[in-house]
């Protein structure tokens, strides 16, 4: 036991030394669903810098393209709060409609697309005017939102309808509906826009969809030795910009799956904290930060070595994570 711990410390230290190069410090924001706060971390020191109280039940978060504001789905306040990350002041609200959960920005930085889980709607909001541009009726319990890199399409996944709805960002019409595994939670376009990755929590799979044909290319399943299949519940997914690897948070399996994004095969499982939920790359893609909802911490993955280098205690029930570009 002691020897193991020592090895872990050594591995962690080596990982730290070899992994994150000093000087490339990004700011990492984590929403604490039960703590009603945002924890701010430094990606180089891996220390908590501060904790900012925000609205009730903060879940999905995203930074504006200039890194100045954090948009926060305050689910129990039925609004998206705008946090000035320098002053720590909540400077406004976006009229998201009831129970916002996840959101994504148009690649140009405006508008923002918000899933209203309680209302079967995708709400499109201009973040400057704070006005609703459109409400699109989608399936039951919309959750995951992903905007395509070319800005022409936004996808929303509905958890009870089990679909990825492709919405045209100009006409706000649904152009395609792709049936995926049960309870789809998150939608992520690859950087080249050719694929859409959708996680299905209850089915325990990730569907990779060809965005041209709107057909599923592959359904990726998971098997972790010693973990019963029903505990494998994929939630967050991120695909590296260079298309080499993807990371998938497996919920109560307490693992992050590393997938070879070219062959679409699982490469490795990394042990993280309890009920791992969402994750995000640093802009240099050398680190992945993942939120562990039940152990109240964030695990830091060193991407080159594919090791977990540190767990950082944050607030109560960490949920979403966003990282500055600069």
């Amino acid at each position: 036991m002691r020897a193991e711990a020592l090895v872990a410390v050594v591995v962690a230290t080596v990982g730290l030394v070899c992994g994150a190069r000093p000087g490339e410090a990004y700011t990492v924001y984590v929403s604490n669903e039960k703590g009603n706060s945002i924890t701010v971390l430094d990606s180089a020191t891996l220390e908590v810098k501060e904790t900012i109280p925000v609205g009730m039940r903060p879940r999905g978060i995203i930074l504006t393209n200039d890194d100045k504001y954090l948009l926060i789905c305050a689910s129990d306040e039925d609004t998206v709060q705008v946090l000035d990350v320098n002053s720590h002041e909540l400077v406004g609200d976006l009229p998201s409609g009831p129970d916002p959960e996840l959101l994504d920005l148009h690649p140009s930085g405006n508008p923002v697309y918000v899933a209203n889980e309680d209302d079967n709607l995708l709400t499109v909001i201009d973040i400057n005017d704070k006005k609703v541009l459109a409400e699109v009726e989608v399936g039951v319990e919309p959750e995951g939102v992903g905007a395509s890199p070319d800005g022409k399409t936004v996808v929303v996944t509905s958890e009870t309808t089990n679909m990825a709805h492709f919405v045209d960002t100009e006409s706000y019409e649904i152009t395609d509906n792709v049936l995926v595994g049960s309870r789809p939670r998150f939608a992520e376009f690859t950087a080249d826009g050719s694929q859409l990755w959708v996680t299905s929590e209850v089915a325990g799979v990730v569907s990779v969809i060809d965005t041209k044909t709107r057909k599923i290319i592959k359904v990726i399943g998971f098997a972790v030795p010693g973990v019963q299949p029903e505990h494998i519940q994929p939630v967050g997914v991120r695909v590296a910009k260079d298309g080499s690897k993807a990371f998938v948070a497996l919920g109560p399996a307490n693992r992050v799956a590393v997938i070879d994004a070219k062959t679409l095969e699982v490469e490795k499982y990394l042990l993280v904290g309890q009920r791992v939920w969402q994750l995000a790359f640093t802009p240099d893609e050398k680190q992945v930060f993942v939120t562990n909802g039940n152990s109240n911490d964030v695990s830091v993955i060193d991407v080159p070595s594919l090791t977990v280098v540190k767990s950082i205690p944050v607030g109560s029930a960490p949920w979403g994570v966003a990282i500055s570009q600069h």
């Binding site: 319990e141 309808t161 505990h231």
Partner: protein, 418 residues
């Protein structure tokens, strides 16, 4: 015409006024569309899937607490929300679901009501009826393309010696409920149980499952004590005073125990026990801490949205039978959307197959057990105000799926489908 009027059942339009069928040569089933709005005959491309709901009215003992009086629309309200969910998906898949409710009065002819639903094209029918009526219904449509969903009856025989190939059970059986509670009590190290039982067959049936659970998970029943009173008037002016005297005396002199476990399904005396036992002990079973498929304050795993949806529509809290009906209608919807058609054989096979898995706010998919048609689902263990836990509990292991530690497992099943 008058003959039809006197038919011992009636067909009603859900959510709207009761509609008595007077004129048609065959009873016309009024159809509940999404939101109750009338929809013109469907376009050719639409797949129509009519779902039936048969409710047999029964004589009920008035529960001790007015909080536990069953709402008139119990179950039906759950089916309606699921119908709406199915039709939201159906907008995208060009599938339309309808719900038709047949309410059979006490002494009415449930078989006739089912036959009418089937003649009108219903392949899927939810049944809220006592076990013996459910069996009669099952036998009556044995040779037809009909699948029944048992949304209420918790009787063991329906999953065991009297199991039927054309019935799936979304209601948990007593074994599942007793196992779920027992696992929690054992996890809590409340292993010595003082069992207090009523006199009804249902109480004894639950007692049997408590004994089985004690044996399986390591509980000890220190004594079984019978509460002999039969139901009397619920209200009387000095009733509370009397009970305050009676209950401590009734629970006096028991061997050392950790928890009172009550078997009183009709709620004749169980709710009188908490706070009134001779020894200061918690109460569980059919009163106090209870095992159930759904609790109105369950908010884990996205259940908040379900509760909100339900409360907005039904103007009341969602109860276990509402959930059990919701699961049945959603299971049909899920299968029809996956199969891509309303074809009975395909949908029926998909429901029972390995690919079926419904997201039902339980933290894992719910599926149907192949050996007895029982819904495989985690069970909530809850006090009156809040859920306390969800079983299976950690540490109760199973070679395939932990959730199969609840209820009748494959190797012990006596079910031979007929």
């Amino acid at each position: 015409m008058s003959q039809l009027y006197r038919m011992p059942f009636r067909v009603c339009q859900v959510g709207l006024a009761l509609l008595l069928v007077l004129a048609a040569p065959l009873p016309i089933l009024a159809e509940m569309r999404d939101e109750g709005e009338a929809v013109p005959p469907a376009a050719a491309a639409l797949t129509n899937v009519p779902i039936g709901y048969l409710k047999q009215e029964v004589k009920k003992v008035i529960p001790l607490s007015r909080l536990n009086v069953e709402p008139e629309d119990i179950g039906i309200a759950g089916a309606q929300i699921a119908l709406k969910d199915n039709n939201t998906t159906g907008r995208f898949t060009k599938q339309q679901f309808t719900l038709d409710v047949a309410q059979v009065p006490i002494g009415g002819d449930a078989v006739k009501a089912l036959e009418t639903l089937v003649e009108a094209g219903h392949h899927y029918v939810l049944v809220d009826a006592p076990a013996e009526i459910l069996l009669r219904l099952s036998d009556a449509v044995k040779d037809k393309d009909v699948l029944l969903f048992n949304v209420r009856a918790s009787d063991e025989n329906l999953r065991e010696e009297d199991c039927r190939a054309n019935v799936l059970h979304t209601a948990p059986d007593r074994a599942m409920l007793a196992d779920a509670l027992a696992q929690y009590l054992v996890w809590k190290k409340w292993q010595r149980w003082l069992v207090v039982k009523g006199v009804f067959p249902e109480d004894l049936a639950y007692l049997d499952m408590l004994r089985r659970a004690a044996k399986r998970f390591g509980g000890t029943i220190v004594e079984e004590r019978e509460y002999k009173e039969t139901p009397g008037a619920r209200r009387s002016d000095s009733g509370q005073q009397q009970i305050q005297q009676q209950m401590p005396v009734f629970t006096q002199g028991a061997p050392s125990y950790d928890v009172v476990v009550v078997a009183d399904e009709k709620e004749v005396f169980g709710p009188y026990l908490p706070y009134r036992t001779w020894d200061p002990r918690p109460v569980a079973g059919t009163a106090g801490l209870q095992a159930m498929s759904w609790h109105p304050a369950h908010e884990q795993w996205g259940a908040t949205q379900m509760q909100n949806r339900f409360q907005r529509a039904a103007k009341r809290f969602m109860l276990p039978i509402d959930y059990q009906a919701w699961v049945a209608v959603r299971a049909i919807g899920e299968s029809v959307s996956r199969v891509g058609s309303g074809d009975f054989a395909k949908v029926d096979a998909f429901l029972r197959g390995d690919e079926f898995g419904l997201a039902a706010f339980k933290g894992q998919k719910v599926t149907f057990r192949k050996w007895d048609g029982q819904l495989r689902q985690p069970i909530i263990v809850a006090g009156p105000d809040l859920p306390v836990s969800t079983s299976p509990q950690q540490g109760f292991l199973h070679e395939h799926a932990e959730v199969d530690t609840l209820g009748i497992d494959a190797p012990e099943s006596k079910c031979k489908f007929q």
